[in-house]
Structures are given as structure tokens and as C-alpha cells.
Symmetry: C2
Subunit: 446 residues, 2 copies
């Protein structure tokens, strides 16, 4: 799991070598600790004329104690550049983006943040507006690739009527929680989200179920949800015994040994949750997943069936039973774990990519149906994450995965976990049907 | 424009060196010439039980003179593997894909074809079906990366009611016309498309306008549309004089010198078309585009304005005037040219990527509005195409662009042109709002 090159590049002598030879320069990413300020410096907030988000965003940043400025001054380093582009109603007005970003492109702190706020093209009032708003995606993804130094860049589409529900997302994106999330497009729907009493413990009083929790990313999810205040049920297969117990103990939660691919597992899980003190569950994270890599020519049917069964069919069956029984409560959150392989496909992973593309389908198909029940469903799609699994990859493949992204390094399990915690927040009630990559803006895609 | 490495790799001694050293192995791609058979061998056609496309597809292939078999035999090489997956209504039935592809994965000719037919997730009858159908994307993209040897793989979603309108797409995908198109998802809508009298001249009797026609990709578009039977108006800026006249002559068409970014250009173009013998135009290809690369920190406003103006605002203005005046006739086709940079973003191209993402927005926002007028609008998104522009790129960047795709080589201008000709076909009447990459399944994406 050690990225020795990144450690070297961040050492005293290493910095000099990296700079002189023009080698990949992986910055030390700023990651979240409770109590940290949201940004390393003031936020420069700009807007195209006629925008509807500049004012509410300015106010919420002030309430959050973040210094906000409207123009930069010589030598001042900004923690973030936020631009409200909702006023851009046709392509001739895109120039406002250049006017804002050109003079301040070099003004960001290391690990600074770029956030462009727009109107979802599908909610625009005219084709001209939809076109201009869609073009924002090209801008933010290019900025993510240009700025380097750990700077992330995102496009956040806020539906008309969603202006008061952006705080959980801005807090996520500004903070070190989103260290390895860049080049993403996030959609916030209309409606009001509730505000947690304590933004450092937004999940206080919530019960969360995490599958595949014994190791790697699953263990990190359990830890982060617990840190954010949730009571955690850490679920894994019976064979994971000791490791699972450790995770549950560290999260001060409960361990549940269950193989979700067995015929009666969803019913048994439902019984367990119904009998618990909460009489249900608030947050369900379908993290359990396996790989059984072979080209399809060399694959046997058991490898195909196992991967589809664990990664896709099991989450479907669990959702069905828990939703049918009303065990996921209003305000509930379902989070799936997809993968870049499910987006771009991958050699040797027809089974895995099929299952993970299916997870995206599950999220997109289910989100509209759950909206009326006040339950959201979203997915993360991890890229190269440093785990025991990636540590076993051949050197060349591993180095390519680590370096071919805007951060020049692999992500950590905690980065995936933080993104899931953002979806899980009460403040994210109007975020549903999203698939957000946790990939450092990997070059790979579709 | 010469890919010397590919020429070497396809030479006698080169083949041996490439094989022994495990170097990238760019196959010589099969490209279309009128009269060519659609495939190099029989099509193996399979289906999951309950599918609705196997039968109509089998019949149309027979009518087209393509041999079709239902099971493979020892030693038989197939020209294509086509699988009707519309019968897959939940994830437990995805196994049918493995059962079809596993035994025949090695049975394809060089430059063979894989086509998976599905139901658009948004038109599925249940969330389970939508999920399973969405998962097909992971499969086809993985197969595209696995099979190599010039084999392409696509997913074609056919809306219920569109079963009789798949022929233009199957002909495009099976033939050498789609040599450099792989890993794509294509959506065919409901409704009937008309059948050209002669599939080798599907554009007979049509008038096509091609902007930026003097060079490179634009010149190839003019030539291909003319070859397919269209009368071509080749448009470019006044400075392109001689080159433009050459293109128009070779296409036996007309040259039109006009700078579309001037205030009165759309009106002048409208006047020209209205006064012509057709009293309008059938096919409009917005190919004119420029790059003015700089990071946004180093860019000046003229570079920003020029790129947005030529690549995005000009097509919008031309569409507005031609559509307002009814000069794009029923059965009309509008085709935009986007770019991988507009999908994934690119360092040094904030202006270009913004404009090209906008072209995608234009297509998606306009398609529903034109459906009632029997006009389609789609876009191609080229990847690395061998042109005078890419020939000037630094060696490392150029080689990366050429090799980092499933074909291990750059595409040719004709590949973009063929894709546009497919959109333009009368047989493609139910294809609208699509953005299809012509990139050899480049690894780059979002």
C-alpha cells in the first residue's frame, strides 16, 4: 500500500530531483480531520450577471466562518475559486468564465478548490441556455487537468429550487473530505435539505449498514461513518470473523456475519434490522464486491456468476426486501459502489465491468422511484485506490494507475468513504441518482 | 500524417519484431469501398430468450446477403458476433452473455465486429430490467478492450417500436465504414426509417452543406457525402480559396466562401440556400472548428472568444436561421463535430473543451425539439485523427494519442466522415441526440 515514489517526491531531496527532471509531482493531499477549517484561505466568489446562487452561497460560507472576497488582491492566496455560472443563458456569455478564471488561475493554495455552479441543462429554460450550461463541463474538466498541485475542480448543477440545499456539497468539496475527487459533475435537485446540528457529526443518531466491511474500503467506510456520528453495523461473510470484529470494535458498532448471496440472506438481514432498537436502518452502503479476472475467452462460468451475484444481484435483492418491508426509513440513504471499470470497461474484467455498470443502472433506475419516499440512492465509482488488492498488481500497471490522473497518485480507502459519508448526510437529501468518481480525475473513461 | 510505426508493424520484418518484443500491434484496419461485402465471414447471431430483435435482425441480414449462423463450428471464422440481449430482464439472466461470447471470443476475423443489442434503460419496463440493460455497457466496453486485432464492439440500444429501423446502423457497424468506431453506445428511437434504394448511394438526391470543408476532416466529409450520392456545398472562409475549390471540384459540388462568424453570415447563407434549385438543404454538417491552445492562465481573451465563436456560437446561429426559415427540409439531418476534449477536458484547451462540450449540449437540447419536424441532430466526437494538425504535435504526445486506444493507431479523416454519412442516411431517421466517438476506443474519457 505504500506509494514509495510519492513519499520520495515529497521529501527534501526528492522535491529537487522531481522538479529538475520534470517527473510526475504527486502533492501531499490535504485530508479532513474534524475541526479543520474548510479552506486554507479565503474563497474568491464570482458570478455571471443574473445568477441565482452567488448570494445564497456567499451567505452560507459566511455562516460557516469562511472568509469570502469578491476580487483578488496582489499576493493573496485563495483557498477556493467559486463561480456562479447560472446567469449564463447563451454561449455568447461564456466569456464571463474566462474573465473570472484567467486572472486568478495561479492564485490558489496547494490543494485549492475550483467549483463552478450551474443549472442542469435538462432544467434550462431554453436550448441556448442548456447548451451554454452543458459547456461548463468542458471547462471544469480542463481546469482539473491544468491546475495540478492537488487542486480539484468540479461542476455542481443545482436545479432551480435547490438553492438552499447546497451546503453539504460545498462543505464536502471545499474540505479535505474530497481530496481525491476531481473533474466530477454533481447534480443537486430542487427542495430543502435539513441542516445537521453539528457539521462535524452530521450522522449523529443514524444507523448505518456497511457490507464487505471487514477490509480495505469497507473498513474505511465503517470508520468514517462512525466518526461522523453513525452507529455502524459492519457486515461481512462468516469467514471474515476476526477482521470484521476488529472493524466493528474500532467503530464502536456491531458485527454481522452473513453471506448475502445465499437465498435467505436478505430476509435474515431484514429480520435482524427489524428486531433492532431502531426498527430499521437509515444508511445502507453496498460495498461488498469481488473480482475474478480473466478474459472472457479464458473465463469459466463460476467466475462470471460469482461476480455478478455478489456485486449486482445481492444489492438488488437486499434493496428489494428492505424497501418492501419499509425498513429503510424516510431520510434514508442507499449508496452503491461502482467502479471506473463499470464506466470505461476493462480488459480482463468483462464480469466485473458488467456488474459495476449494472450498479450505475440500479442507481439511475431506482432514484426516481424512491424520491417520493424521501430516500436517496447514489453511487461512488472508485478509480485507483491503494488497497491490498492494488498492492498485488504488476508494477507497470500499478504505476500507470497511480500516475495517470490529475493528482499523480492513487487514492486512499478513506477518500471513497468520505464521499459516501457526504451522500449519507442529512444535508444531501436532494442529491439522488448521482454517480461520483473517486479517482483523482483519472484519464480513463468513456 | 504518416504513421511510420504502423507501417513498420505491418511489414514482414516488422511483424516479427513487434511480436517478439510485445510492442503495440496496430492492425491494418478494414475500410469501406463501395461494393465491398458487409462482413469478411458469416455472422454468428445469438439471443437471450424472449428477445425482440433477433428475428428482424436475422431477416435483414439475409436480405442484405450476409450469411447468418446460429452456432459456430470448429475452425469457422466469423465476421461478426451479434447478440440480442433485449430478453434479459434482470441481472440473474446476464449469464446468457457469457454463454454466447465465451466459446466464440476467439472466432472472429481480424477487424471483426461485436454488436450487442439492448433496450434503452430509460425505456425498460422495470428497474430490474433497466439495471440489467445498463450493465451491457460494461460488457461491450470491456470486450472492445479485450479482443484487439481491429475488432470493434458496440452496444446498440433500440427503443421498443424501433425494431424495423436498425438496418442503417447495422450496415454501418458491420462494414469498414466504422473501422475506427469502437466502445460506443448508440440509441435508436421508435418509429420507421425509410430504406434507401441503393445502400451504396444512400444520399442520392440529397443536398449537403459542409462547413470548414477546405481541409482535413472537412474535405473528407465532402468527399464521402458525395461518394454516397449527395450534392455537396463545400463552405469555408474566403482565405481558403484554392483548397476549397479543389475539394468542391473533386466532390463535383459547389464551393461557398463565407466567414460564418460575421454578423450577417447566417442570413447570407440562408439566402444562398433559398435561392438554390433545392430551395433549402437536407444535410448540414457543422465541421468548421479552430483551436487556440493555451492554459487559461496564459490565454488572452481573443483566443477564448475566437474558439467559442467559431466552434459553438456560429453553429447555433446557423441552425437558428435555417430552422426558422424552414430551410432544413423534413428528413433533414444536422450533424455537429464535438471532440474527446469536450467529453474529458484537456490541459491547455479550456476554450476548445468548453466549446465542444457545448456542441454536445446543443445536440442534446435541440434533438427533442426537432423530432416533430422529422429532422435529426447528432454529433461525432473525434479522438486522435491523423491530420496536418496532429502531425505538428510533439512526438511523445502524438505517440500517446495514437497508441492509447483499442486500435493502437490514430484514425483517418475518412473515419469521421463515414460516421457522419451514417447519421445523414435516410435509414437513420430515428437516430437523434446521439454523440458517437470516433476514437478507436481511446482510453481517455470522463
Amino acid at each position: 500500500m505504500a506509494d514509495r515514489y510519492a513519499n520520495f517526491a515529497n521529501s527534501g531531496p526528492g522535491r529537487a530531483v522531481v522538479k529538475r527532471l520534470g517527473l510526475p509531482d504527486p502533492p501531499r493531499l490535504r485530508r479532513y480531520r474534524p475541526g479543520d477549517p474548510l479552506t486554507a484561505g479565503p474563497v474568491l466568489l464570482g458570478a455571471a450577471p443574473g445568477g441565482r446562487l452567488g448570494e445564497p452561497v456567499g451567505k452560507l460560507l459566511e455562516r460557516a466562518g469562511v472568509p469570502v472576497v469578491a476580487t483578488g488582491a496582489e499576493g493573496v492566496r485563495h483557498g477556493a475559486l467559486i463561480f456562479d455560472a447560472t446567469g449564463i443563458t447563451d454561449s455568447t456569455r461564456l466569456r464571463a468564465l474566462f474573465d473570472f478564471f484567467h486572472p486568478y488561475a495561479k492564485s490558489l493554495h496547494v490543494c485549492g478548490r475550483v467549483i463552478v455552479l450551474g443549472t442542469p441543462p435538462e432544467a434550462a429554460a431554453s436550448p441556448k441556455e442548456a447548451t451554454a450550461q452543458r459547456s461548463l463541463e468542458g471547462l471544469t474538466r480542463s481546469i482539473g487537468k491544468e491546475f495540478g498541485r492537488g487542486v480539484t475542480a468540479q461542476l455542481v448543477y443545482v436545479a432551480p429550487g435547490g438553492e438552499q440545499s447546497v451546503e453539504s456539497t460545498l462543505r464536502f468539496l471545499l474540505s479535505g473530505r474530497s481530496a481525491y475527487v476531481s473533474g466530477q459533475v454533481i447534480r443537486i435537485g430542487a427542495g430543502a435539505a435539513s441542516e445537521p446540528a453539528d457539521w462535524d457529526r452530521p450522522l449523529d443518531g443514524k444507523l448505518a449498514l456497511v457490507t464487505g466491511a471487514a477490509r480495505g474500503i469497507g473498513a474505511a467506510i465503517a470508520a468514517v461513518l462512525a466518526r461522523d456520528g453513525a452507529e455502524v453495523i459492519a457486515l461481512d461473510v462468516p469467514g471474515a470473523g476476526d477482521a470484521l470484529a476488529d472493524v466493528a470494535n474500532r467503530a464502536r458498532g456491531r458485527a454481522l456475519q452473513l453471506d448475502l448471496t445465499t437465498a435467505d440472506a436478505p430476509e435474515r438481514l431484514a429480520g435482524y434490522l427489524a428486531a433492532g432498537p431502531h426498527g430499521g436502518v437509515d444508511i445502507v452502503v453496498h460495498n461488498a464486491g469481488i473480482t475474478r479476472d480473466r478474459t472472457i475467452a479464458r473465463m469459466d462460468e463460476s467466475r462470471w456468476d460469482a461476480v455478478i451475484g455478489v456485486n449486482l444481484t445481492a444489492p438488488e435483492r437486499v434493496n428489494d426486501v428492505l424497501l418492501d418491508r419499509g425498513l429503510i426509513k424516510p431520510g434514508g440513504r442507499i449508496v452503491g459502489v461502482a467502479s471506473i471499470a463499470g464506466i470505461a470497461g476493462n480488459r480482463g474484467q468483462t464480469n466485473y465491468a458488467t456488474s459495476k455498470a449494472g450498479v450505475i443502472g440500479l442507481v439511475q433506475a431506482t432514484a426516481p422511484l424512491l424520491a417520493g419516499r424521501d430516500i436517496t440512492i447514489n453511487a461512488v465509482a472508485p478509480g485507483f485506490i491503494e488497497t491490498a488488492m492494488t498492492a498485488k498488481m504488476p508494477f507497470g500497471l500499478r504505476e500507470a494507475g497511480r500516475r495517470l490522473n490529475s493528482m499523480s497518485q492513487g487514492g486512499l480507502p478513506v477518500d471513497v468513504a468520505e464521499t459516501i459519508a457526504w451522500f449519507a448526510s442529512p444535508g444531501s437529501a436532494t442529491i439522488t441518482g448521482n454517480v461520483v468518481r473517486v479517482c483523482g480525475q483519472s484519464l480513463l473513461g468513456a
